[in-house]
Amino acid sequence: MRGGGLRAYALLYLLFLYAPILLLPVFAFNSGTIVAFPLNEFTTQWFSQLWGNTTLRRALVNSLTIAVSAAVLATVLGMFAARASTRYRFPGQGAALGLIMLPLVLPEIIVGVSLLVVLLAVGVELSVLTVIIGHTLICTPYSVAILTTAFSSLDQSLEEAAQDLGESRWNAFRLVILPLVMPGIMSSLLMSFTISLDEFIIAFFLAGNEPTLPTYIFSQLRFPKAIPMIMALGTVLVAASILLLALAEYFRRRGAARTGQTNSGGFP
């Protein structure tokens, strides 16, 4: 069969990609306090430990607050930028978009450090809000990329047609453009949400004394006793991400089907 060797390689590669994730539930349900082989008995005690952990609960609430806020802010900013880049031509367009997209090629530690210096200099207290500021900054380029694709696949005359049929500029946008880019908006929200939820280094610099999920996990990884619980937490997080991703994929396909595009996996 053609590509047999390649297929075997690809499957091995998938195994490499999934190896750590497959191990997660193994240790999450293992009663041994040391995360190593051989395994002990089956247990769910680590999950109940998760439930009772108040710091963790606080970290979760913080992380969700940050991720939802950053996702919404980044998507709104991304819509402005994507529309500006697809619909208009103006002087300085390249430079402006370049600056907005810069965090994509900037190590996160640089973003975190520079923001930290300025926020401290201005006298802003570090909190959940400062993390939202940083996360919005790094999520916006992803939103812009996703939404630019969504906007540029639209026929320019659709909006004009709506205006021609009697709708105002805003209503033309609301009735025609918005429904058509809705799958893009959903992808942007989900992607930003996931990036923010998982982001460690900026949160580490900007959260002050507030825990977020990644900074909490990072602090616990130093204590061997806490590891099994972290494995349980990881299992929950992985399950949640897969659920979210499946949802995102469902929306994307539905959006594609609705406008009659062929499904090419999001990479035309």
Partner: protein, 398 residues
Amino acid sequence: MTAQTSGPAPNPGLAPAPAAAGPARDAQGRPTPISSRRAMIECRGVHKYYGDYHALRGIDLTIREAEFFSLLGPSGCGKTTLLRTIAGFEDISSGVVLIDGRDMARVPANARPTNMVFQSYAIFPHLTVAQNVAFGLRRDPRSRAEKAAAVEEALAMVGLKGYGARAAHALSGGQRQRVALARALILKPKVLLLDEPLSALDRKMREQMQVELIKLQRQVGITFVLVTHDQEEALVMSDRIAVMFEGEIAQLSYPEELYSRPVSRRVADFIGMMNFLPVRILGDSDAGVRVDVPGFGEFDIPAANVSRADPGDPGPSVGFRPEAVTILSRDAPAPHRETPGVIEEVVYYGDMTYYDVRLEGAERPVRISMRNVFGRDIQDLGTRTRVSWSPGSLILFR
């Protein structure tokens, strides 16, 4: 720049539908002459700049009620810009646009009594056919049922009865165009603007839609303004045509006039096929202009057949359409003057045959078309033949 309007009433071959008297009709239901109708669109000194680019250079034109009007020209001539100016999608840099007597300055596209069929049709892909057609009825105070009936009626008018529930993205090109037409016409605009509406269709579909659009226009009796780069399409469909080059109207006239009396060599070259020959002008005479054309000799061209040369032309020339001269059968007597020549190329088209004939004394061959009539042989390559012509079938560009 002045646009000229003259000539006889248009399209005698197309009999009017036996409709009741309406706009632009007399008591018997016959169309009134266009020149006597009310003005629907008036452009006065319209200029449009994009930065330094001068897209429209002083457009003056009047489009009348219930007229099928075409803006014809090569790409980049400003015809689409002019259409979008009328629709309200482009601001004008100076000048006035009136629609039905009302100044359109500061009237946005959504408030103008025009509707547009876009080149891409711009069918909303997330809506059904019926939702697309009903899009402009959102603020219409009629009941839901009345609107649904109006949608059904509009769909029936464009031959899409029963298609309402279909998803718009599942339609073919021709069906999309019909939806776009129904969507625009349901709003009963004073003017329907069509931006190259047939360019995306295949040849057969295009020819079918040309006829349907003519019928539809006659049926609804509103002004249609068509933008096209296809001269054949413009000739077939229009009551009048404005030929545009580089942001200016070069000629505005009836199709027959445009074809037979082009005002300049450039218009003649753009509309249909024309042979151009170098000419020596000998002087004005009582009968017109005395000229010497290699292959044709010395003769007088009637004053009515004298047009302008364009600044870019290689000097004065005479032109004639391929069907304006005739290749004579072997022994037939010439009705007018005749010139001997040799057939250098034969291109057979089924209904027509094109011959490239080198006339005696001419440098280059000229193209002559002959309708293929049953019983008349196609002439062979290399045949010595005679070409019959009259001074009235030639146009002088000086």
